[in-house]
């Protein structure tokens, strides 16, 4: 199997889907001539031309709406946001239009489109450029939300997202673009709404998604050396959430830690904990703990930023606590 970066896996998915269906087009800031702010669309302008790889002005609300209009009448737009921080300006079109039009029209107008771009913190970009938005978007009925954490999932989920007739929010990790992994060639599809058990162990479940999958895998490696074996449940999509996969794991381990990049209040973890208390109440040997960003805007200074972010150390501490080892 080829080893690709997360970035190249995304590019491969885009290229294959653009080849497969000529209703698919990509639009966004700097996607064409500049090859993408993060080079995800590298080479696509040359291959598909300016009608299908479309540079837009800096006009997030406007081009998100253009995508909605094009999707309503049968095209399959992929709208790239340079980062999801800028997509806040476009949320009206995502939430009020894309997510609602099928319902408001009584099923007449489908919305086969993808909104994609990097989400979450990179390094020292400080408060306005370092935010994880998935709990905002997962809140909305009508949207599907993908959060791939590996190159293979990035490719397989993006292909599913592009083929889906619903509006799909696709959250990439800026810090993941250079991460390498094995990626199946060609027709590799990861279904939306299906989690993957990325590591198996009996002692505790770590339920996570997106960029934090890497952290969870490191935690699993580190703890294995101490004889602690954890399940790593990678949700892969946070709407819909694979509740069965969560239950299966927690019913086996009887302990859980939920790890996410976003903030605590109304975060994804709040929802996962709710599922666990409903589905696994009698299975739990300890309260479920959560690991997340500190409840502050992201600071710039290296040491403060490190302290604000969820990491392997905080996750290990939480696992040991639910195992009553500390």
């Amino acid at each position: 199997m080829a080893v690709l970066t997360y970035r190249d896996a995304l590019t491969q998915a885009l290229r294959e889907e653009l080849q497969r269906d000529d209703r698919v087009f990509l639009m966004g800031e700097e996607v064409a001539q500049y090859n993408g702010a993060y080079k995800v669309s590298k080479g696509l302008l040359d291959e598909f031309g300016p009608m299908r790889i479309v540079d837009t002005p800096i006009t997030e609300l406007g081009f998100a709406g253009v995508g909605v209009g094009a999707a309503m009448v049968g095209l399959r737009p992929i709208v790239e946001f340079m980062t999801w921080n800028f997509a806040l300006l476009a949320l009206d079109e995502v939430v009020n239009a894309a997510a609602k039009i099928l319902y408001m029209s009584g099923g007449q107008y489908k919305m086969p489109m993808v909104f994609r771009g990097p989400n979450g913190a990179a390094l020292q970009l400080s408060a306005q450029h370092s935010q994880a938005w998935e709990s905002w978007l997962a809140h909305i009925p009508g949207l599907k939300v993908c959060t791939p954490g590996t190159p293979a999932d990035a490719k397989g989920l993006l292909k599913s997202a592009i083929r889906d007739d619903n509006p799909v929010v696709f959250l990439e990790g800026e810090m993941l673009y250079n991460v390498k992994g094995e990626v199946p060639e060609g027709e590799h599809i990861v279904p939306i709404g299906v989690a993957e058990l990325k590591r198996e162990g009996d002692h505790c479940s770590v339920i996570t998604h997106g960029k934090m999958v890497l952290v969870a895998m490191k935690v699993a490696d580190d703890l294995a050396k101490e004889g602690i074996n954890i399940d790593v449940v990678d949700l892969r999509t946070v709407r819909p959430i694979d509740v069965d996969a969560i239950s299966r794991s927690v019913q086996k381990t009887n302990r859980a830690v939920v790890l996410e990049e976003g903030w605590e209040i109304c975060g994804m973890g709040s929802q996962v904990v709710d599922f666990i208390q409903r589905e696994c109440f009698d299975d739990l040997d300890a309260p479920v703990l959560r690991v997340h960003q500190e409840d502050v805007p992201m600071p710039y200074a290296k040491n403060l930023e490190r302290a604000a972010k969820p990491d392997a150390g905080k996750t290990i501490a939480a696992i040991k606590k639910v195992m009553y080892l500390d």
Partner: protein, 360 residues
């Protein structure tokens, strides 16, 4: 609540009717230039279309008062020359998108009055299955893309439809109706910029009824000259009398030609006036506008203007006018009866249409 608009659509003009004039298709003298090349049959259709909207919405007001229609309900009364004029110029395969004041446009586009009324009554047979309501009429049969409730947010969507037309090398147009108060929202500007930048076949129609809710345009808009905004985006624009259905049609000829042949967008300001409150919960006058102002503007009722012209040209008798009017009333009554007798959506439908399970 009074439900009949205080405007006698069958009132006789002061002058005596001219001799009956059969125009170009008859032996009489040429019809007045202002008829803009329309035939007497078409003029009757225009009159019928406008009267249908009027009578239909008068019944909406009544149904609202009875609690049969709920939520927000924005009437279009006073602006019917615009919907009728525009829809009479475009093709079935063209696209229409609008804001929440959408009943008149939906009727003029030819959507079934029954399906519209059933939607307003929240019934399963409604054009949007009872899930949209007054503000969200959608009809894929007539390319009627809604009914949108966030001021200005449908304007970029219209640009996207224009983009899709261009992408497929089609020659349709997308007509986008916009309230004059929406020109101050960012989405409007973002959409106009892209439509011009990318040569999209979109016709942006600003229905300037002089108020956004209770705020007069002079209190909301630094430069009331809407056409400056067209120029700002290197776009052709014009202002027309939106109470004159022929003026509306004429300027649409130019805009449609520009869109189909040159693939260029147009911004048109149509000056009009709304005769009712902003929505059913707003007084017709007495707060932000005076009764005098309202009455002054009601003298230029678009239906009255058309009626008078046809009457003066001798092509419409009072009897015929009554017949057209009675027909409009009968259609409105039929729509009401149909809606009233229709079942509510079954409860299972609460959960349908959130997602589709299809993929490509």
């Amino acid at each position: 609540m009074s439900t009949e608009t205080k405007r006698p659509v069958t009132q006789k003009p002061k002058d005596k009717p001219a001799a009956r004039n059969n125009g170009a298709d008859g032996t009489g003298k040429e019809p007045p230039k202002e008829f803009a090349g329309t035939t007497p049959e078409l003029r009757r259709e225009l009159l019928h279309s406008m009267l249908l909207q009027r009578r239909f919405e008068e019944r909406c007001a009544e149904a609202y008062a009875l609690g049969k229609i709920g939520g927000f309900c924005h009437l279009y009364i006073g602006q019917e020359a615009i919907s009728t004029g525009v829809m009479s110029m475009i093709r079935p395969d063209d696209y229409v998108i609008t804001a929440y004041r959408d009943h008149g446009q939906a009727l003029a586009r030819g959507i079934s009055p029954r399906a519209i009324m059933a939607e307003l009554f929240g019934r399963d047979a409604g054009v949007s299955g009872g899930k949209g309501g007054s503000m969200h009429l959608f009809d894929s049969q007539t390319n009627f893309l809604g009914g949108h409730g966030i001021v200005g947010s449908h304007v970029p969507i219209a640009a996207g439809v224009g983009f899709a037309i261009k992408y497929r090398r089609g020659n349709q147009v997308c007509v986008c109706f916009i309230g004059e108060a929406a020109v101050n929202i960012g989405a409007f500007h973002e959409a106009l910029n892209m439509a011009s930048l990318w040569d999209l076949p979109v016709i942006f129609i600003i229905e300037n009824n002089r108020y956004g809710m209770g705020t007069a345009i002079s209190r909301s808009t630094a430069n009331e000259d809407v056409l400056v905004r067209a120029k700002g985006y290197r776009m052709e624009g014009e202002t027309v009398d939106g109470q004159d259905v022929f003026a509306v049609r004429e300027c649409m000829t130019r805009a449609i030609e520009r869109a189909r042949k040159e693939k260029r967008p147009t911004l048109i300001e149509m000056k009009t006036y709304r005769f009712m409150g902003h929505s059913m919960s707003d007084a017709v006058s007495g707060t932000y506008r005076t009764k005098d102002e309202l009455e002054e503007n009601m003298k230029r009722d678009p239906i009255l203007l058309l009626h008078n012209k046809m009457y003066e040209a001798g092509e419409l008798t009072e009897g015929e006018m009554h017949k057209i009017d009675d027909e409009a009333k009968a259609i409105a009554q039929d729509a009401w009866d149909f809606a009233d007798a229709s079942p509510e959506p079954p409860l299972e439908k609460l959960y349908t249409d959130v997602y589709t399970d299809t993929s490509s």
